[in-house]
């Protein structure tokens, strides 16, 4: 696990999301409840919609382009054949920490 501090919890709107740029593409960090966050790929496997812009409800997000719904626990699309990558993320002292183990370019020295 390589935890990186990506910012304050309160920088993410409640029932909203913010974008994190990484070497291997954009990650959306979702705040589903006052102290509940999830991280997943920002890109919808259907037509590439930016999930960070979707409506966040329960522990799911709805893609803004064509309303695919993803369960943020598993990354699985509800009722569709598709899945987004999810990444470990946690809250510590009001900061959001993202595990970037899977997000660093392999060639990074």
């Amino acid at each position: 696990m390589t935890w990186v501090d990506i910012g304050a919890l309160d920088d993410i709107p409640l029932r909203g999301a913010r974008l994190v740029k990484t070497e291997l593409g954009c990650v959306a960090v979702f705040r589903t409840d006052s102290a509940e966050v999830f991280a997943a790929s920002n890109t919808c496997p259907h037509k590439g919609g930016p999930l960070v812009e979707g409506i966040v409800h329960g522990q799911s997000v709805t893609c803004p382009l064509h309303n695919w719904v993803f369960d943020l626990n598993t990354g699985a699309a509800t009722g569709e054949d598709g899945r987004i990558a999810t990444y470990p993320v946690r809250i510590e002292d009001g900061r959001v920490l993202l595990d970037v183990t899977q997000l660093q370019a392999r060639t990074a020295a």
Partner: protein, 812 residues
């Protein structure tokens, strides 16, 4: 074995429990000396709230009195502060002399955290921590004012205790719901409702700015928004800090609290610490259960037995009469979790269980907490709940055999089971009515009143009809809003108005939503209904809006956005056009297009550039064109009498006036208008939501046209003689649409449902109703008639940027 000397610093609940265990297990093992800075022994601090509310007296909450200490041979040095600890010589030096020790226990507890607001040192600003604070609050009475800062456990207990004494209490809380550490929003909403029913005023998301005084005594609290809350006493209950000053001076390892290992031993093997002053594996402790566990471990350690302190999940109950809440375990945070939610609006009940894999990990309950300890047991023991998952939320009484099929469950209900909580109607009353000929929902409602109030039991009544009548009953096909509820849009709108419901949490709870906070289908609808009906009380929630309305721009298929500045009535100027051209160059806009609504569309703007391009357009005097909203889009016009030789009225002027009245308003779906200066209709007004044709005698106002998937000519609402009347009936029509239409129904669909006659009665014939509609629209516009671009560019620009850019960090 010779007796060892044990010194205990602090007579609190944890150290007191250590003494109980030690003197029970080995009465002769130690010579015990107890120091306490307060001039009294151990009392049950968590029972101060019942003392405050008058339900108990101080004497009833004393755990150790003089006799107890005497019987256990504990030498008490109460009211004496410890000055210093000499670890080399193993001595504790008090104000009245030293005591040698072999073993030492820190039980120094915690200090209340006081926010360093200007004026926090005024007389009358207190914490809620000890008997002195409690007595100070008990000294208040009828008609006096108190402000409590902090809507956590302690602050609310203080507030309720004082309210019970007739004091006017206002609770100021910085977060969006009460007790956010123990409760979710739904339970927080119910708690707020119960406390308000006790006469307590609750102000959420309120930032305290300054405490105002007079002659050295507190007078009022001023909030960030300028509100002044007068008070005779101000109680700060915002948290505690471990009291580590002495431990630090003594040279023990201290972080946030005094570091201890699993045996409660500090960095010095002869010194232990228990209670709120300790830090164990990074955690601090404020609730009583872990403190008691620590005390037991400390006692065993002192007696040479092996024991280890393990952190466990905790449960919380609020000690406020009439506010029945329970929370346990971890109901937020984490992966692979699922919720089970149960709500019974008529009884004010909310329950939420959080499940991870096959175990229960958290529970929040409000209103009915009888099963709390059973759930807490399942959480602590990590019981496999897969077999009872379907019925878990109904508690232990329900386990073992009941069928999951709702119809047989209804069939199995006893005749006296209550179906409709609002009207107190039981099953047999309904089945009797069905037998007597009430064979559909409307008839059952009419004869029994069952499901005629809040409507939540509609499903149950229908199931009863089905069970009783069998195939003779046809289930109605009214479409619920979505899978989160059984209510239709019409029901939800009606209940928001009549109950009334003024927040999303109120809707979720009172209408029995099956999910935590709705979904992408119902939440935007509910958000609109609330802001349309309660413009002053309800605040628009951007997180319940689709991307376009949240970002005030239209998302394109590649994730870029389009930007359309407003051109009132389709009129622009050379300066505006230059500013648009400059912006298009500066932000490398790939496509510039003229729209069907007489505007200019800049397509392909990057999301992070939006605030900057808006600021540039604002600087040139332009505002958002709302080309993205379920709201007023455009008013198209022709040039009318200004230039055209056929024009009969100033159609451009009327279009601009209409747009200036209507802009910024939210509607169930988008609204497009047009004004044509003569029947040749160059502005294509006869296929708009509202289309006005100017004629010599005045204005023909048509409504409910369409030119999208359906094409439909407008229907004539009325003919009016003056421009002002044309504006009035347009505004009244749009407000009636805002108040009554289903979300995402364009006006033509809505008018088809209610009938043009119904609309004309209210907008054209009944002048009082027309005036009411115009006033209601104007009230709403006092909030919403403003430029969202300017607001976002000024205050929210950073939200348009990535939160973090790890590609930069990696390159370093």
């Amino acid at each position: 074995m010779t007796k060892q000397n044990l010194v205990v610093i602090g007579a609190g609940m944890a150290s007191g429990r250590v003494l109980e265990h030690l003197t029970d297990a080995a009465p002769d093992a130690f010579n015990i000396t107890l120091f306490n800075a307060e001039p009294r022994g151990n009392y049950n601090r968590i029972m101060l709230s019942p003392v405050l509310s008058g339900e108990k007296t101080y004497d009833e909450i004393v755990t150790h009195d003089d006799t107890w200490y005497a019987e256990r041979n504990v030498t008490c040095r109460l009211g004496e502060k410890v000055v210093e600890i000499d670890r080399a010589a193993k001595r504790v030096i008090g104000e009245n002399g030293f005591v040698p020790y072999d073993k030492l226990i820190f039980g120094t507890g915690s200090n209340p955290f006081m926010i360093p607001l200007p004026g926090h040192d005024l007389d009358g600003v207190i914490a809620y921590r000890d008997l002195e604070d409690t007595e100070r609050m008990m000294g208040l009475g009828d008609g006096q004012n108190v402000v409590v800062i902090g809507g956590g456990l302690l602050g609310l207990e203080a507030a309720a205790g004082m309210a019970a004494r007739g004091v006017n209490v206002t609770v100021v809380h910085i977060m969006g719901h009460l007790m956010e550490r123990q409760l979710d929003e739904a339970a927080g909403y119910l708690l707020k409702k119960s406390l308000e029913a006790k006469g307590i005023t609750i102000r959420l998301q309120a930032n305290s700015k300054e405490i105002l005084g007079e002659n050295g005594k507190v007078r009022a609290l001023r909030l960030e928004d300028g509100t002044e809350l007068p008070c005779d006493l101000l109680v700060m209950a915002v948290g505690i800090r471990p009291n580590t000053a002495l431990a630090q001076a003594t040279g023990l390892a201290v972080g946030k609290g005094i570091h201890v290992d699993d045996q409660m031993i500090t960095s010095d093997e002869d010194v232990l610490a228990v209670g709120e002053c300790v830090e164990h594996q990074g955690a601090l402790f404020g609730l009583v259960a872990p403190l008691y566990d620590q005390a037991k471990v400390a006692a065993q350690t002192l007696l040479g037995e092996h024991a280890a302190f393990v952190q466990k999940s905790l449960s919380t109950k609020l000690k406020v009469t009439g506010c029945d809440l329970f929370s346990a375990g971890d109901f937020a945070d984490g992966d692979a979790r699922e919720d089970i939610v149960f709500r019974d609006p008529s009884r004010g009940i909310y329950k939420r269980l959080v499940i991870e894999g096959d175990t229960l990990v958290g529970a929040v309950m409000y209103g009915d907490t009888a099963d709390g300890n059973w759930f807490f047991g399942l959480i602590k023991d990590g019981t496999d709940i897969s077999d009872m998952r379907e019925t878990l939320i109904f508690g232990p009484a329900f386990q073992g055999g009941a069928s999951a099929d709702p119809l047989s469950a209804v069939a199995a209900l006893p005749p006296d089971a209550e179906i409709c909580g609002c009207n107190g109607i039981c099953k047999s009353t309904i089945t009797d009515a069905i037998a007597a000929g009430a064979t559909d929902l409307g008839a059952v409602r009419a004869t029994t009143k069952a499901s005629a109030s809040c409507g939540t039991c509609t499903g149950l009544v229908e199931q009863l009809l089905q069970v009783t009548l069998g195939d003779a009953f046809e289930m109605p096909t009214a479409q619920p809003v979505c899978g989160c509820t059984d209510h239709t849009h019409e029901d939800v709108r009606r209940l928001i108005k009549t109950m009334p419901l003024k927040s999303q949490e109120a809707v979720w709870q009172e209408l029995g939503w099956k999910t935590r906070n709705g979904c992408h289908v119902c939440r935007p609808a509910v958000n609109f209904y609330l802001l349309a009906d309660w413009p002053l009380e309800y605040q628009d929630d951007p997180q319940s809006r689709f991307i376009n309305e949240r970002k005030h721009a239209n998302i394109q298929k590649d994730g870029t956005f389009s930007v359309v500045p407003r051109m009132w009535g389709g009129i622009t100027t050379p300066d505006e056009l230059r500013a648009i051209a400059d912006a298009a160059d500066k932000y490398k806009v790939p496509t510039v297009k003229v729209t069907g609504g007489q505007r200019i569309d800049l397509l392909g703007v990057k999301g992070e550039d939006l605030p900057a391009i808006w600021a540039d357009l604002n600087a040139a005097g332009m505002v958002s064109g709302h080309a993205y909203s379920k709201g007023l889009r455009t008013v198209k016009t022709c040039v009318g009498t200004d230039h055209c030789r056929f024009g009969t009225q100033d159609s451009t002027g009327l279009g601009i006036k209409l747009e200036q009245v209507l802009w910024g308003s939210w509607t169930p779906h988008k609204v497009k208008l047009a004004v044509s200066g003569c029947p040749r209709n160059c502005a294509e007004a006869t296929c708009k939501d509202v289309g006005i044709i100017c004629v010599d005698s005045g204005y023909q106002v048509g409504v409910a046209g369409a030119a999208g998937m359906d094409v439909k000519e407008t229907e004539r609402l009325c003919d009016v003689a003056t421009e002002q009347e044309a504006i009035d009936v347009t505004v009244a029509f749009i407000q009636l649409y805002r108040e009554n239409a289903k979300y995402l129904d364009r006006p033509y669909k809505w008018v088809a449902k209610v009938g043009l006659d119904w609309v004309q009665e209210r907008v054209v014939d009944d002048l009082d109703e027309r005036a009411r509609l115009i006033a209601a629209f104007e009230l709403s516009q006092s909030i919403y008639r403003k430029d969202p671009w300017a607001e976002h560019a000024a205050d929210k620009a950073e939200r348009y940027q990535p939160m973090a850019d790890l590609t930069l960090a990696a390159a370093e």
